[in-house]
Structures are given as C-alpha cells and as structure tokens.
C-alpha cells in the first residue's frame, strides 16, 4: 500500500529524473511521443520493483537502466517501431547534405541521432549505457543480463558501424 511519504518521495524522484529518463528513451526510440510513453512506463516499472533499489546508490542510474530495458522491450515488441523516425525532429539522413546543413549544430545532432537509430536496438542499448550512462563493460552486462563477451562484441561493432556511417560528416576527432 502506498503511503503519503512513499508517494511524496516517488513524485520527487520523478521530478528530479524525468528529463534524464526521457532522454534515454528518446535516444533509443527516436520519437518524442514514444519516449514519453517509455519514460512513464519506466517510472511505473520502477515503482513496481522499488524493492530492488539499493538506498546506498543514487537512484538516477537505477532508473536509467530500467529505462533502457523498457525501451528494448518496446523495440522488440514492435520491430517496425525501431526503424521509425520522428519526422518532426529527426529527418532521415540526406545522402547529399548541403554545406550549410553540415555546419549547423542542430542538423548535425539530428544526423548523428538518425545514424544512431539505424543501429540494431541491442547496439543502441550498449552505446547508451557506455557513452551516456558511463557504465563499465561489466555493469552493462549486468544491466542487460547478457554475457560480458557479447556486450564487448556489440559495443565494438556498434562503434565501428557508427564510424562508417559518420565518415561522410568529416568531423575532426578529439585529440
């Protein structure tokens, strides 16, 4: 039974972490509405499994890991959805982008997001957990419940695929 204190604490948690959770979902799903739905589902799932939360750990990473799994389940449920792009936000990659578009930061971000969304869902998940949530390989394996060797393999392949896709952007790497 939810009591007043628990309810207040959970509402505060949502308010603190909703943007981060929403962004995890958006990076994985590529659609604003789907991301919002997934974020809601994440909070419901977190509430359902609140006994798995360890109070000595910050709740943010716990919630984001749940969000990744929620998104992966959604992508598995609807493979077609995995390929969908929110046309209002992310335009499909233009094979011949104009020079003006290349220099605009917004367009550049959209292009990177679009390429990220072209990756298979499990590659997206490891990219999300490694690059945005900064988990170690072992932590990613735990979060996704998969062998460490699979995680490494997926992560390295995902990066290489992205590298090939981003080659035409001619970005300068950080030294």
């Amino acid at each position: 039974m939810i009591n007043a204190d628990e309810r207040t604490a959970f509402v505060e948690l949502i308010q603190q972490s909703q943007m981060a959770v929403y962004n995890v979902a958006y990076r994985l799903l590529g659609n604003l509405q789907d991301a919002e739905d997934a974020a809601q589902e994440t909070f419901l799932r977190a509430y359902q499994f609140r006994h798995t939360y360890r109070p000595d750990q910050p709740p943010g990473p716990w919630l984001k890991r749940i969000a990744v799994n929620v998104c992966l389940q959604r992508l598995r449920r609807n493979v077609a959805q995995a390929q969908s792009l929110d046309e209002d936000v992310i335009q499909p990659l233009d094979p011949h982008p104009g020079p003006q578009a290349q220099v605009e930061q917004h367009d550049l971000q959209d292009r990177i997001r679009a390429e990220l969304l072209c990756l298979p869902p499990r590659y997206r998940a490891v990219i999300e957990l490694r690059h945005f949530q900064e988990l170690s390989y072992e932590e990613i394996a735990n979060a996704l419940g998969r062998p460490l060797s699979d995680i490494k393999s997926d992560l390295f392949r995902a990066r290489r695929l992205l590298a090939e896709k981003l080659r035409d952007l001619k970005l300068e790497p950080i030294p």
Binding site: M19, Q48, F156
Partner: protein, 187 residues
C-alpha cells in the same frame, strides 16, 4: 583487460577490441604504451582510431531534449490502486458476509411468499393458450411449479428481526470502516 597481442615491430595491426579498450582507458600502462608505440608507426591503425574518436566526439555532441510537460500527473494517473490493508480486507469480508446473509434472508422470504401466496399456474396457462391460438396448438399439459424444498427459517419472527438488526449494524460498521480507510488513502 585485454593484453597486447602483437609487437609494434612486426606491423600486425591492433585488433578492434584492443583499440576500443585503449579509447575507453581500460588498458594497463604497459599495454597502453605498446599501443601508442604501434600507433606512432602505423597510419592504418591511426585512421581506425581516429574514426572511433569521431564516434566518441559525435555522441558527445548530442544535447539533452527538454520535456514538453511534467510526467508526474501521468504517472500518478497510471499508478495502480493501493493494496488492501488488513482493516480494509476485514471490512470487505464483513460486507460480503452481510450481503450473503441478506441475500439468504431475502431469498428465504421470497421463496416462502412464492410457495404460499402466488400461484402462477393460471397465468402461465393463459399465456400458453394464447400462444397456441395465435400460431400453433400445443397439447394440454399440466403446468405447475416444481416442488420446492422447505427452507423455512428455524427462528421465530422476533429472533429474525433481531438477526436482521444485527446484520444491518454490521453492514453500517463495515461501511464506516471502508470510508475511514478511503480517507487514509487519499491523505
């Protein structure tokens, strides 16, 4: 962590896993130095490393999207109902018991009334005769209610009234308890 599987001098290229772990900063200092020594001499591995660095850089460019609205009200709407407390379960059990008792009493009374006061046979006969005249004829059959078992209450009328009063009091207590619990949940 991976170990170096090559010597810089033999010009074998750095494998993909090692290159990734180097970029992730997971190599031991010795392994790191070996990779860097190879990179100093191998243009191809340098290019592969640069491509991966572009990936790291590209991902770092992605900014956070802002939320159009607060997700809290939606969460609260979809929050499952509260679990039943022991008190609430007890109140519901009382309610259910009362309902069953009332049904039993009312059912018994109705049964007795039907058995003793109401004879539906003439009415049923009239309807069947009418139906037979309109569309088809039916043989003359004897219509009667089945014999019902005797469920008469083993109590006298005053005891029955007292029992009904007890049932009503319990029903009232159950409702009061439910209302009280409801206020607790809302608070």
């Amino acid at each position: 962590m991976s170990t170096i599987k090559y010597e810089p001098s033999n010009m074998k290229h750095i494998d993909e896993a090692l290159l990734n772990e180097y970029l992730d900063g997971l190599l031991e200092p010795d392994a790191c130095r070996s990779v860097e020594a190879h990179l100093d001499t191998c243009q191809e591995c340098c290019s592969r490393l640069d491509e991966l660095r572009v990936v790291f850089y590209s991902l770092s460019l992605l900014e956070e999207k802002s939320l159009a609205h607060d997700l809290t009200p939606g969460f609260l709407d979809r929050l499952p109902g509260p679990a039943l407390s022991m008190g609430r379960k007890l109140a519901l059990a009382i309610q259910a018991g009362v309902a069953m008792g009332l049904l039993g009493v009312i059912g018994q009374v109705m049964l007795n009334v039907v058995r003793s006061k109401v004879d539906i046979r003439p009415l049923a006969r009239a309807w069947i005769d009418l139906a037979g005249k309109v569309s088809f004829s039916i043989p003359d059959v004897d219509i009667r209610l089945p014999d019902l078992p005797d469920y008469s209450l083993p109590f006298s009328a005053p005891v029955t009234i007292i029992l009904l009063m007890v049932v009503l009091v319990l029903w009232g207590l159950g409702n009061a308890r439910l209302l009280h619990n409801g206020h607790e949940v809302q608070r």
